[in-house]
């Protein structure tokens, strides 16, 4: 069920999604990715380096944001380029709720060869956590 280039225009919105993040999420991601930087699981260490609390891996946030695109295309192989800037950390408190990453995506530009540029907006606790978050996607 690929998205057809002829059915999108600049301003087409992708279905928005919310992604919960708890301390358990970060421990699991640390193990799967091999990134054991203690700022992602050790509150004491996070405070020592001037952070308000444990923060999510930037690459975890980057992975979540792209799901808005890959759930839209169905096939992740449609993504040709993907880039982000890590602007603010996702702060993850040690409680049952953790944090939430909210992601919206909009078709920003129609490109050659039936490709589009999708601009993503990712926020957590009202702060923009990714900047310049863009994916180039090959449509059918």
């Amino acid at each position: 069920m690929a998205v057809n280039f002829d059915e999108v225009e600049v301003g087409t919105e992708l279905p928005a999604q919310s992604f919960p993040v708890t301390r358990a999420t970060l421990v699991r991601y640390a193990g799967a990715s091999g990134d054991f930087n203690p700022i992602h699981w050790n509150e004491r260490f996070a405070h020592q380096v001037g952070l308000p609390d444990v923060i999510a891996h930037g690459m975890f946030t980057m992975a979540e944001a792209l799901r808005v695109v890959t759930d839209w295309t169905g096939d992740p192989g449609a993504v040709v380029e993907y880039g982000v800037r890590f602007t603010k950390p996702v702060v993850v408190p040690d409680d049952d709720r953790g944090a939430v990453i909210e992601v919206t995506g909009t078709v920003a530009k129609l490109l050659e060869d039936r490709r589009v540029r999708v601009d993503l907006l990712a926020t957590s606790a009202g702060q923009k956590v990714l900047g310049m978050s863009r994916a180039v996607v090959q449509l059918a």
């Binding site: 923060i55 992975a63 992740p76 982000v84």
Partner: protein, 153 residues
């Protein structure tokens, strides 16, 4: 101490092959909470034209970051890793990584600049399969903060 811009263009030997495994892909997909069957079910992957399950698109960072340790550990460059945060990340795909791939990462220093007292280092990781065909390029921008600045990422 600012990094020496003459290191721009320095390249490092390709890493030993990394074999992408189905179960590692599954573990990573579970960790990011992504239930797309293209990561776990070979039949679902084939239905989309992939020879086997593919890896989530940020997975190549696991390889490129490990390979970038060569830059971090390069005594001639002298990067103070305790001050480094991940500033930007970009991927350019020829295709997704997939189970069964044996890939090498060739690391190079794409750029070095100074911005508001911080060193900004751009490290490029070219990931290629056994036949030397390009799979994905991972471009990491690392920011070595001036002393006593707050941490980012």
């Amino acid at each position: 101490m600012a990094l020496d811009p003459s290191f721009i263009g320095r390249s490092y030997p390709p890493t030993e092959p990394y074999e992408v495994g189905r179960e590692k892909i599954r573990e990573f997909a579970v960790a990011i909470g992504d239930a797309n069957p293209v990561y776990t079910d070979p039949e679902a992957a084939k239905a989309l034209g992939h020879p086997d399950v593919i890896a989530p698109l940020t997975f190549p960072f696991v390889l490129s970051y490990a390979a970038a340790a060569q830059v971090v550990a390069d005594p001639e460059l002298g990067l103070d890793f305790s001050r480094v945060v991940h500033g930007d990340q970009k991927f350019e795909y020829t295709r997704p990584l997939r189970a069964g791939d044996r890939v090498r990462v060739a690391i190079s220093i794409a750029n070095i600049k100074s911005l508001a007292g911080n060193d900004v280092l751009t490290v490029k990781g070219e990931i290629a399969d056994e036949s030397g065909e390009h799979v994905v390029t991972s471009i990491m921008t690392l920011v070595a903060r001036a002393a006593d600045d707050a941490a980012g990422e």
